[in-house]
Symmetry: C2
Subunit: 342 residues, 2 copies
DNA sequence: GATACAACTGGTAGCGCTACCATGACGTAC
DNA sequence: GTACGTCATGGTAGCGCTACCAGTTGTATC
């Protein structure tokens, strides 16, 4: 019958302790913390004093259970080591760091099945929002997202049919712009080199192909791809393969900067003049592309901005202020540098 | 008085629904799910059937509240874009992906204050384990870790006084080994170039200094550092600074591979022969160092393995099987390549 | 046949918080 | 003065799950 003082909880102060100390009801403490405007100035101060004195911190688990809503953002990316996603994550993180939201992340490893599994894990927790990379979810994933009961932002790409909201840019246009630039600079036998070949890479390839066909330059033998994960080492190998296949190659549009760097290093090693004999273009415009020798032309993609904006949109949606246009195209910028200026 | 059917929860099946359908008590369902061994074969099958039929998924928030333990690993790293931490995260992730643990991460931005704040956010949630980068926590952070009531693994470095467990290697030894190698190869005026200069960088510098002093080669003017975050671009600038300061420079030990790459590119640009005129050594051995031209000597660090092992140790501790030695040194490996072979 | 013990199962009572509804104290309008 | 809204506050009843303890059954032991 005597109060069985908190047998499980490690004896941390609870909202009831604060309420007792402040001489108010527990619910008033709860309100003072979550909606200060709805509690009188006086009580608010009193409660704050009690909170400070006891060192009270609300239990997020109890909160989540009672309100059927966890203060958690779920983030699903296909890779952690790909610095592109690392920057998206950084943008997400920075935009959330002064809120009380926590971030939970999942690595889909470019697998639709894994994505489904992760959504199944994230869902029951009732996250405040979900941010997922890509727009090619499986039907099951789509349904899971649609029924998640929280704002959903698909990032990295834009497309016609958002689950809820989208922030990204057109990989097709990026690929096309890069290729058109090389054609303009006088390159003719321009190869495409790509690894991993996820949906976004596929669309860059499609953009490349569109540009090449429009110029009457397309030749299937110019395309060298592999499903193997991308790396600088692999870039070097693929470049060698491409050159062996088409000795007249005079340029390469690389699916990403790692591949481009591998190609560049191989050119150095084989004493192939860049940009004179062979032009090189990358994708993403990592920091090092500008510093490389010669500096490498690349498509600058707004990765960090995608992260930031996706959070801003999710936060707005949580607050009930949905954007008029749920799809935001942040564009890209072609950075023309030495590696294609002959 | 009539059952007010689940007014908040979106009508998902609860453990009570499963229990009713299976004709058992709720607690038995709970046990069948968490400790199958303690429930008879018969009931287990019956319960599983009910679970499958209803599509029941336990509510992690309710679980966390009732058991005072969330199935969450908290991970604190100082940076997301530094690929070193990205690989640690990947290791952590891969080791946890077939468990039901979720991963919550925090970015301390190399700030002790921010680390304290994050621990304060993570703590009340009662995570299953905490993994934090570094061993130089502030006294407040240390206390928060000690009182977290869960296994704690400090990663990246080893040291004498773990909060709980540690997995890493000696940055001092790594810095010394790299420097000794350069001395052995005949370099004399070997500079140290470092950005960010977090505690680990400081220890690499100390290792460099120890090696240089032991050989009677140390000269304070050889050291060029900045608190600015590291990047390839910055590496190039620092290298130029170092060379301007000490024109007789014949080698550089770079605090990390980004810096080394910046130095290498600058050598190309300025037609400085590597390794003949100047030798270059990096730290971490990113994939690209082997492919670079010339390939770059670097200290290979077990980043992915650190992530994996930290989880393995935490999981063992959760299961009550603490390792006999709470500190594991995974070592490093000096990769000698063209950039220092003159 | 009584006793002891293990193996299994269930009831009860919370975990710490918030949704919902009720209450009382004020205004304001008529 | 009565009716009605608004504001500030509180009580009650869960949210969905598990810790704790109790009860039941079956089996081994003497």
């Amino acid at each position: 019958m005597t109060k069985p003082r908190s047998r499980r909880g490690g004896g941390r102060p609870t909202i009831a302790d604060v309420a007792r100390k402040a001489g108010v009801g527990a619910i008033t403490v709860s309100r003072a913390l979550r909606e200060p405007g709805r509690v009188s100035e006086d009580l608010r101060r009193q409660i704050q004093a009690a909170v400070d004195e006891l060192g009270y911190l609300p239990d997020p688990n109890a909160r989540a259970l009672a309100s059927a809503r966890a203060e958690v953002f779920g983030v699903l990316v296909p890779s952690l080591t790909n610095s592109v996603f690392a920057e998206v994550l950084r943008g997400i993180y920075d935009s959330l760091s002064d809120s009380s939201y926590r971030i939970q992340f999942g690595n889909t490893h470019y697998s639709g099945l894994e994505e489904e599994r992760l959504l199944q894990v994230f869902g029951p927790q009732r996250p405040a929002a979900l941010i997922v990379a890509g727009i090619d979810q499986t039907p099951i994933s789509r349904r899971l997202l649609e029924t998640a009961g929280c704002p959903v932002v698909q990032v990295m790409e834009t497309g016609p049919d958002p689950v809820d909201m989208m922030v990204g840019f057109s990989h097709f246009d990026g690929g096309r712009a890069a290729t058109e630039h090389m054609i303009e600079m006088g390159y003719r036998r321009i190869g495409f080199i790509g690894a991993r070949m996820d949906p976004r890479s596929q669309r860059r390839l499609a953009g490349y192909r569109a540009a090449m066909e429009a110029a009457g330059l397309f030749d299937a033998r110019l395309v060298t791809t592999t499903p193997v994960p991308s790396s600088v080492t692999l870039g070097r190998e693929l470049f060698r393969d491409a050159l062996a296949k088409v000795p007249t190659l005079d340029g390469v549009f690389c699916n990403n900067d790692d591949i481009a760097l591998g190609a560049l290093f191989e050119c150095h090693r084989a004493s192939i003049a860049v940009p004179k004999t062979i032009g090189i273009t990358g994708f993403n415009d990592l920091d090092m592309m500008e510093v490389a020798f010669p500096s490498v032309t690349s498509v600058r993609t707004p990765r960090y901005e995608i992260g930031r904006l996706s959070v801003a949109m999710a936060l707005a949606a949580i607050a009930g202020k949905r954007p008029q246009d749920p799809v935001v195209d942040l564009g890209f910028e072609l950075k023309c540098r030495e590696s294609t200026s002959r």
